[in-house]
Each structure stands twice: as structure tokens, then as C-alpha cells.
């Protein structure tokens, strides 16, 4: 079987992005402080989220606001499976259905978490994919709120805003980089596959795609479930590194942050997702430094709490106003080195 030109270019692009991801990881490992290492780790986790978001949003071009909920489902599902029984006896004494009576190894827990999240995504997706535009977005928002409410109020399972602790910390920077590389390849190949091309076509012109025999709803559902499973992977990577999770990180602030990353970089390309994640993460770190009211060039700057939220909003507003297709537009990284 010969690979199409798009797939070949996709492999080259994914390989180039992987090289960059590995280089950033190596530099951090050798030169970074413990704090910086943690920061870079969370950037990679956000990269997994943004890539998961790109699969559906970038190809079907329907805004999804529930991605952090899927990340949360993945994280909690894995946490509940993997946390040792003696710790769960302490933290989840009233857990129903025997959830505190068993414990699995990290890999099995991760696989179960991915399957559970994928199943939830399938059920939600059956509703989402038949809607388009604002309807789909509102349903995704409602789903985010429902999941967050469940996390908060079923304290017997999720512990709400309290820390769900005792998750074995089996991941390190190398694991998340390896995972990012695999996800970059799969997302990029999906984009260039016949499914990805057909999905992008249907986003351009539904009727035109239909007349070419494109089964839009089925493709949207495939992308949606794939996206949900990738978001579960991000949640698992988050939980397996920190060892402690709570409901708050899987809500609006995180939705907004990762959305800004994708919009800024350019949602239509995988390179845009990667670029947006790293630029916004770096920029946000600088803004956070400014928030503390530092002395800069001899000037004692005032404390400016909330500046990071404003900065993210400004990024979204300016990107949408000046370059709605994001920094990368329709360009992928290999366009820099390969002839078009």
C-alpha cells in the first residue's frame, strides 16, 4: 500500500514536532530547577489536552467547551482504580459499589480510565454530532457543568474540592514527552487520513461533502470519541505525576486556558496546537511574574492580581480579531522544509 502525499507529509511534520518536544524536555531536565520541571510537565499535560481538543475542534470546526471535563473523568477514573486500598479506606470510606475495595496496577487503571471516558464521550457525542455551531457548543458547556457538579457533590467518590490523594506517582517528564510524541503522531495522521480530510471537508461545506458520500455524523462521532480518549490520557498523565487531584483544575479556568492555546496557535493544524501551548505557557509564566509586583529595570511594579486572566482574554480577543485562523493558519511545520 502506498501512502498518500498528505500522510507522508504528516509523518515528516509529526517527526519534526517530536524532535522539538524532546529538545525542550532535555533542556529542562538538564538545566531546569524543580519548579521549572514541574511547570514544563504541566505544559506537556496541557499539550495533550490541546491536541485532544484539536482532533475534534480543528477538524470538525465545532467549538468544544467540555474538554476539561473529559480530562477530569480520565484522571478520576484512573485515580479510583490505581490508588491503594489502604489509602482509599482513609480517603473514600463511604465509596459506593466497592470502589474502595480494589486496586489495580497503573497500566490497567489507565486503560480502564480511557475506556470509561471513551464510553462517556460516545454517549455525549451521539447528541453533540447532530448539532452544529452554537447548539453543539452549548451542549458541551452544559456537560462541563454537569461533570463538575458531580465531582463536587459526590464527595464519597471524588472528594469534591478536597484533595484525592495517594495516587502512585509513576510518571515523570520522560513519560509525558513520550506520550506527547505518540499523540502528536496519531493526531497528525488522523488529520491527514481519509477521515480527517472528509471531516474538514464537511466543516467547509456540509452539502458538498454529503454529495461526495461523506457520512458527516459518523466521522464527527469518531473524532469526538478519539478526542475524549486523548483527553483521558491527559488526565491520567496529570494524576500519575502529581499524585493528588481535585475537581477545580477540571473546570472553566482550564477550559479557557487550553482554548486560548489552541486558538492562538491555530486550531486547524497540529503545529498550531503545539506552538500555541508553548507560547501561551511561556507568556503566562511571565505574566504571573508581573502579577507579583516585581522590581523591573529599577521600577517597583505594583501587584496586579488577576492579570493572567486578563492576558488570556486579550490573547483570544486579539487573535480572533486580527488572525482568526491563529498564528499557523493552515500551515504545518513541514511546510518550512518541504516543497509544497
Amino acid at each position: 500500500m502506498t501512502l498518500s502525499r498528505g500522510i507522508k507529509r504528516g509523518f515528516v511534520g509529526a517527526a519534526l514536532l517530536t524532535i522539538i518536544l524532546v529538545i525542550i524536555g532535555l533542556i529542562t531536565s538538564y538545566f531546569g530547577s524543580r519548579y521549572q520541571l514541574r511547570l514544563v510537565y504541566s505544559t506537556y499535560v496541557n499539550l495533550l489536552v490541546v491536541l485532544g481538543l484539536q482532533v475534534f475542534m480543528g477538524n470538525a470546526r465545532i467549538t468544544n467547551l467540555s474538554h476539561s471535563a473529559f480530562m477530569g473523568i480520565g484522571a478520576y477514573a484512573a485515580a479510583i482504580c490505581v490508588t491503594p486500598v489502604n489509602i482509599k479506606a482513609l480517603s473514600l470510606p463511604n465509596a459506593p459499589w466497592g470502589l474502595n475495595a480494589f486496586s489495580l496496577d497503573p497500566l490497567s487503571s489507565a486503560l480502564i480510565a480511557i475506556v470509561i471516558t471513551g464510553t462517556v464521550a460516545l454517549l455525549v457525542g451521539l447528541m453533540i454530532v447532530r448539532l452544529s455551531g452554537i447548539g453543539a457548543t452549548i451542549v458541551s458547556l452544559a456537560f462541563l457543568v454537569i461533570v463538575h457538579s458531580l465531582f463536587l457533590y459526590r464527595t464519597d467518590i471524588f472528594k469534591g474540592n478536597q484533595a484525592f490523594f495517594g495516587i502512585p506517582q509513576v510518571f515523570n517528564l520522560a513519560s509525558v514527552i513520550a506520550l506527547s510524541a505518540v499523540v502528536v503522531f496519531s493526531v497528525r495522521i488522523f488529520r491527514e487520513s481519509k477521515w480527517g480530510v472528509a471531516l474538514r471537508a464537511s466543516a467547509d461545506d456540509e452539502v458538498g461533502a454529503l454529495s461526495m458520500g461523506v457520512e458527516m455524523y459518523r466521522l464527527r462521532l469518531i473524532a469526538w470519541v478519539f478526542s475524549g480518549m486523548l483527553l483521558a490520557v491527559a488526565g491520567i498523565a496529570y494524576a500519575y505525576f502529581l499524585g493528588t487531584i481535585s475537581a477545580r483544575p477540571f473546570y472553566f479556568n482550564h477550559v479557557f486556558l487550553t482554548l486560548a492555546m489552541l486558538i492562538f496557535g491555530g486550531m486547524r493544524t497540529v503545529t498550531g496546537a503545539v506552538l500555541g501551548t508553548f507560547v501561551i505557557s511561556l507568556g503566562l509564566e511571565m505574566v504571573r511574574w508581573l502579577e507579583t509586583g516585581p522590581v523591573f529595570l529599577g521600577i517597583d511594579l505594583p501587584e496586579a492580581l488577576g492579570l493572567s486572566g486578563i492576558a488570556l482574554g486579550v490573547v483570544i480577543v486579539f487573535t480572533m480579531a486580527l488572525r482568526p485562523s491563529g498564528i499557523m493558519g493552515e500551515h504545518e511545520i513541514e511546510d518550512l522544509v518541504l516543497k509544497k
Binding site: 452539502v207 458538498g208 454529503l210 458520500g213 486547524r268 493552515e330
Partner: protein
């Protein structure tokens, strides 16, 4: 032969096509003429399965009525839709890849052939299709429809919105396709050009077939031409 029997198409509660019969023999070019709102595009959409319809659509004695769009394409029916509908954000090449999605074997060779036939499309293979001119987009739409190597090509208003010179090029292209023995159902408002190309023609208005016959017969009927131009 493509055979449409007692075809009725509804848009909500409105009946757009009222039980028409059409036949397109293999190797022939049949024109479907009529003014705006006559039901031409509804007829094409019903044949391709994009809209639901009553009556029967059969091709080479196989009833297609219950088949999906995809299965009708596999049965050999392809369409270049009204308004071209190229995928603006996809590259020229991706448009062609999608056009040939149901026949992946030797697809790259067929794309290369099209780039030879239309060098301008080859030059712009990596460009978003939305950046092409109207005429180039129409060429792409027709090439895309032919990527599945159909037995019958449905062309819905291929000259719509094109400058006369560009429209002539498109009609020249259709003439070449006809010479290659491709069966064509041509929907057009430009009756003069369509009648020149076709072997048989139907005149549709308000969802009814008002007349049918050889091009020279229909072309000579001033009442029909007046319906088309709106000049009485």
C-alpha cells in the same frame, strides 16, 4: 441507463418536484433545462440521494431508491453540485483525494492525470481551493466528481456565475467528456449551450416536465425559451 420514475421531492410541506420521469441512456448527454426554482437541483439531489424523495431512481436496471449517497456513488453516479461547492479550506489536491475516496486504487495516478489535463490545478495543488478563480473551481469540481470514475456524471449548473469566456471553456470541457463516452445529465439555465451539447432534453418548470425532445425541437420553441429568459 439512468431511469427516474414518478419522482416527487418535498422540501418540508412544499412539493418541489411533482412526479417526473427522466431517462438518460448510456453514452448520451441529456439536458435538463428550466428557469430558477423549476426543481432542477431538487431532481439532481434526489438522484444522488442527498434529499429524500418518492418514486424510483434506477441505474443499469438496479433500483437505487433505498441506497445511501455513498452506495449510489459506488453504483457509478457522481455529481458536480450547483455552486461548485469546492472545499475552500482544503487544498486542490485534498479536494481531489476526497473526490476519489470511494475508489482509492490508483487514485494518485488519476490525480496526476488531472493535473496534466488542467496544468493550472497542478500548479496550485497545495493551495486552498478557495483561492482559485470561479472557472478554476468549476474545473476542480468536475475533476473531483470524475475521480470516482463514474458511469454517469450529473452536472448542476456548471456555467453559473462564470464570465462568458470561462463558461465557454467549461462547455468545451463537457464536450470533451462527451466525446470520451461519459454519460452526462446536464442541468443548465444557459439553454443555447446546453442544447448544442445534448442528445436529448427535458424542460422543467414548477416541478413539472413541460416538454421533452430532441434539442433542435425544443430549441425552436419560443414559448419555452421565453419561460427561461422571462421575456414574453
Amino acid at each position: 441507463m439512468l431511469r427516474v420514475r414518478n419522482l416527487r421531492v418535498y422540501h418540508g410541506i412544499i412539493e418541489a418536484v411533482h412526479g417526473i420521469n427522466i431517462e438518460v441512456p448510456l453514452g448520451k448527454c441529456v439536458a435538463l433545462l428550466g428557469p430558477n426554482g423549476a426543481g432542477k437541483t431538487s431532481t439532481i439531489s434526489a438522484i444522488t440521494g442527498v434529499v429524500k424523495s418518492e418514486g424510483s431512481v434506477s441505474f443499469e436496471d438496479r433500483n437505487l431508491s433505498s441506497l445511501s449517497v455513498e452506495d449510489r456513488i459506488k453504483a457509478g453516479i457522481s455529481v458536480s453540485p450547483e455552486g461548485r461547492r469546492v472545499f475552500a479550506n482544503l487544498t486542490v489536491e485534498e479536494n481531489l483525494v476526497l473526490g476519489g475516496a470511494l475508489k482509492p486504487k490508483c487514485r494518485s495516478d488519476r490525480i496526476a492525470e488531472w493535473f496534466k489535463t488542467f496544468p493550472i490545478l497542478g500548479e496550485r495543488r497545495a493551495q486552498p481551493a478557495g483561492t482559485l478563480s470561479g472557472g478554476e473551481q468549476q474545473m476542480l469540481a468536475i475533476a473531483r466528481a470524475l475521480m470516482n470514475e463514474p458511469k454517469i456524471l450529473l452536472l448542476d449548473e456548471p456555467s453559473l456565475g462564470l464570465a462568458p469566456k470561462i463558461a465557454s471553456q467549461i462547455f468545451e470541457m463537457i464536450k470533451n467528456l462527451k466525446q470520451e463516452n461519459i454519460t452526462i445529465l446536464l442541468v443548465e439555465q444557459n439553454a443555447t449551450q446546453a442544447l448544442k451539447l445534448s442528445d436529448y432534453a427535458y424542460f422543467l418548470n414548477n416541478g413539472h416536465i413541460l416538454a421533452e425532445g430532441k434539442p433542435e425541437e425544443l430549441g425552436g420553441r419560443e414559448d419555452l425559451m421565453a419561460e427561461l429568459t422571462g421575456i414574453t
